[in-house]
Symmetry: C2
Subunit: 307 residues, 2 copies
């Protein structure tokens, strides 16, 4: 019996990634979509305005939902779905606050249902290999550079600079999710600098200092050299370089052949295993680092930004 799954929040990420990953995995059957407004791309399944309307129309017909709404809308959706006995997969970042995430976890345990906070970047092909290579080693230098042009990747998406929108942490948290997953030691902020455009609420560029030669820079501003790179040097003289967001891995300058089934297929493969065991898997570390940066960091004003 496949897992009958509905997608809640039928936007770009649902269409581009979730639908093909679900349709490409025989453990799932896509049965519905939930969207308060008619989706721009019509889904191949019935659309309901809310989770409640779907549950009423399809009693006993849905086993799980994948939540692809903006983070700040997720908590009530997840609470309702878990209370109705559904398993839940949530896109990254899991919610707008750590408190909401903790409450979701409590509810999942109380309902004895799966809650899986999927960090898609952790499922890139180079990540498992990097983690294996770093296990038990001493890191002597660690560096993230996550430079992407917000106009190119998020054209006109004003919400990303509104409260709860995360600003440049929206892509940056992907790098953090890889880092907390591969590093053999905990990662926590010592100092942070957040550059916030004069006309916005959320940072357009961030520098994070984790102490001990560990640092990260995220930048949303236009530049000639977009890149998404994580470098790790270890005490035994090895240098790992994850590039293109974690899809490529080089060791001491030489490309390593990595293989995998791709980010979203891997996410859904893992979710099926969790569902079979009613397991909860929620990694809050990346979101905790972001919250710490907001709390302890220095907030500086920079040039106004318009799309």
């Amino acid at each position: 019996m496949p897992i009958r799954i509905a997608i809640v929040g039928y936007g770009k990420i649902a269409v581009d990634q979730h639908v093909p990953a679900i349709q490409g995995n025989s453990e799932y059957q896509l049965v519905a979509a939930v969207s308060p407004r008619p989706p721009q791309v019509p889904p191949p399944v019935p659309v309901y305005e809310s989770v409640g309307a779907m549950l009423q129309a399809m009693p006993g017909g849905v086993d799980a939902i994948a939540v692809c709404t903006p983070p700040s809308a997720r908590h009530p959706i997840v609470a309702e779905a878990l209370a109705a006995g559904l398993h839940v997969l949530i896109e990254k970042p899991p919610a707008a606050t750590l408190g909401e995430v903790e409450d979701m976890v409590r509810r999942a345990h109380a309902a004895n249902r799966t809650l899986y906070a999927a960090w898609h970047a952790q499922h890139n092909d180079g990540v498992d290999d990097a983690r294996d290579r770093l296990a038990g080693k001493t890191v002597t230098r660690f560096r993230i550079e996550w430079f992407e042009d917000v106009r190119k990747w998020h054209p006109g998406q004003d919400w990303i600079f509104a409260p709860g929108g995360f600003g440049v942490f929206d892509p940056g948290i992907n790098a953090l999710s890889i880092s907390t997953s591969i590093l053999p030691m905990p990662l926590f902020i010592r100092q942070a600098k957040l550059l916030v455009p004069a006309n916005r609420q959320q940072p357009i560029a961030v520098s994070l200092d984790f102490g001990d030669n560990l640092s990260a820079d995220f930048d949303f501003r236009e530049r000639p050299d977009e890149h998404w790179v994580i470098e790790v040097d270890t005490a035994d003289g090895e240098q790992l370089r994850l590039s293109e967001g974690g899809t490529r891995l080089a060791v001491n300058g030489a490309e390593v052949k990595v293989s995998g089934i791709g980010e979203y297929p891997s996410i859904y493969q893992h979710f099926a295993k969790l569902v079979a065991a009613n397991q909860v898997e929620v990694d809050v570390d990346p979101l905790r680092i972001v919250a710490d940066a907001f709390m302890a960091g220095s907030h500086q004003t920079t040039d106004a930004f318009d799309f």
Copy 2:
């Protein structure tokens, strides 16, 4: 055998509260103080410049430390003390970031030593009684008003408005620590507004919305009516009012006689029990709420502030 304890960070709170609480409890012996600069009020025990210098001068002579430094200085001190086999009590808030707190907890478990994050406001005389009265009840309204004049209570303390200084969350987190301790349900932020003076980094006034008729206002600005009040209404028609920071409790308008030994004596009584069992007790909920407010809240600029 009393617990031989040293105070690290010998400022106002150490002199006013920790020394008398330690000296008034026969389970403890105050044996040293640590201060990088000569303390303004000379302690009744030898002073060392660092924990390391103290450990070298008094090998095997110290069982525990009480850390009263500013939050951002604590992590390395706590790490060093735990590694040396000492038990650790830390003032509120436990650190500048959630990541540092988590790492301290890991280290305490690894060292099999007590780490106690003391929230002094939780030890006020009215708090236990309020918690007992609220157990198992449904809260229909919850309101914090924490209005104190920063010029009166923190004269000239510029650090409080610097990154990591917490601004009005410095007193406000005391209210949150009482709230998370007495409420029968979890508390997490839905919306937050942070007013930051144009010439400062940290908020001078904060509004927190926890949804469902639960809210808090913290204000550091001068006003005629300073007060520190928490009100809780329950579905059975009872209203609790904790006032004067939690020292007084009224139920349905009638003052309830509360008793206790006072904040800091109660903290040290509890710490002795934890030390006897090598237990770790770290409540991160108040700090998590503050981090969430910084991350998901709306940051607004208000009038410049000078002491």
